[in-house]
Symmetry: C2
Subunit: 196 residues, 2 copies
């Protein structure tokens, strides 16, 4: 079978996901209706159900789209010279986040994860990858200069990584809730709070 057809099919699928993401940004994750996706995509019910067995499967694909891509920012930061401090790592990660429109939908996906186990699995997987990269960098940073950390660098990193990672939900939640949240100040504060 011709390769073009497969590619076109995949492209149409992505198109539908794109439209659904826009719906989530406008109406919230649970506020998305098939009718809204139809309108936003310019397609029809038949087209959508030809690519997704039901609404839930579409929304899981949306969750994946929304959460993914954050890994790239960290991987890029990783490639720089020398180990980065916890604060510097977080600046790289969050500064990447805040310029992506889809990031506004991330808290939506986290909330949904508590009730849809497929969404939860997607979130856990991507969260795990980010945490893994972060942990590696923290070990490198703790090892680079002795005395930075009490005890073993790996043990320290295992313990501290979840707390360091908390800066990400902290940023997104405060940005969503507080009318005049100062994003730039938050980024400046990261190296201060986590400098050691």
């Amino acid at each position: 079978m011709p390769k073009v057809t497969e590619a076109h099919r995949a492209a149409r699928r992505e198109e539908i996901i794109d439209a659904a993401v826009r719906c989530v940004l406008r109406d919230g994750y649970r506020g998305v209706s098939i009718a809204s996706v139809i309108q936003e995509s310019g397609l029809s019910a038949g087209a959508i159900y030809g690519h997704f067995v039901n609404k839930q499967e579409l929304l899981v694909a949306v969750a994946e789209r929304v959460l993914d891509g954050r890994v790239a920012d960290l991987a890029a930061a990783q490639r720089r010279n020398g180990p980065l401090s916890p604060g510097e790592l977080l600046v790289a990660l969050i500064d990447g986040l805040r310029h992506e429109d889809v990031s506004a939908a991330i808290p939506q996906v986290w909330a949904e994860a508590a009730f849809d186990d497929d969404v939860r699995a997607v979130a856990e997987r991507i969260f795990g990858r980010v945490r893994g990269i972060l942990r590696t960098e923290l070990v490198a940073w703790a090892t680079a200069s002795p005395g930075r950390v009490d005890g073993d660098a790996e043990e320290w990193a295992d313990l501290v990584t979840p707390v360091v990672l908390a800066a990400v939900p902290g940023f997104l939640v405060q940005r969503a809730i507080l009318r005049n949240f100062d994003e730039a100040a938050y980024l400046r504060a990261l190296p201060v709070a986590y400098r050691r």
Copy 2:
């Protein structure tokens, strides 16, 4: 008019909110239907609409119920002797949180805040109170022993408070997403990560 009637009326209202909170914990914020609240409360549609003009107003009351109460933990910690370190403050706050069932619904409310401005206002108000207490304590801690902080204690606290506060969403989100999230380890990590 008799005072008892007023009190009874208020009590019935709280009863309905209680039932709605249980619905949120079971079905998610947007998954709550009037039918589910009717079932959970053992009341009827008429009873509910006699206390709330519509579903949205009920859900705003639910948001308030879910978010409030966190301030008490911090205020209690505040009363202890001597200024607490950032890590110790967070342990008090989060350890209080994790033993309350309703805390599982907090990420739901944060997600909803992006789309319902009344909910957002509730979240902003309560977040603001917690942040205010935290800031006061951080200033006291920074002032207590010189050299802990570069520059002015108040300026430092203003900058750092939002990042310290991030540990709360960080905890709740990771607990919701990660299948084997180690709550106790997170609490142990707080003083390590924020000790200075």
